[in-house]
Symmetry: C2
Subunit: 78 residues, 2 copies
């Protein structure tokens, strides 16, 4: 089982990406964790470490995939 | 079966998104078509009509999801 982490901030763009892309990943192949960085600011460093610059973003096998643009990570920190 | 269309232009960013995201969609739920817009310029209008501004992008249920940034659609046209 591969690990995928969906980082978001609850924004409309995030929710659309969550429903259409993150929730569309093959459940037989991926364990998808959803992390709301606005509510869980302690994990912002983990997202940054994986190369995430904005949300929504999926990190799959350690690589960041930014999906459209909801908010910059800097804005989520503020 | 839902339809998903992965628009790309063969660029390294496109190939990474294809392997990690487009190929990760649930095969039980999605029929994923891969369209290389550099080789199939006749479909650029279809991508534009769905709101695609850059590649790689996934169109799911008619909504565009840009994944990172490989090239603008304008560059693919050129």
């Amino acid at each position: 089982m591969k690990k995928a982490t969906f980082f978001h901030a609850g924004c409309p763009v995030c929710i659309q990406a969550e429903k259409s892309v993150a929730d569309a990943l093959d459940p037989a192949a991926f364990e998808v964790e959803h992390v709301h960085l606005g509510e869980d600011k302690g994990r912002i460093g983990e997202a940054e470490g994986a190369g995430v610059k904005s949300v929504p973003a999926l990190v799959i096998d350690g690589a960041p995939f930014h999906i459209n643009f909801g908010a910059s990570l800097e804005d989520v920190k503020g």
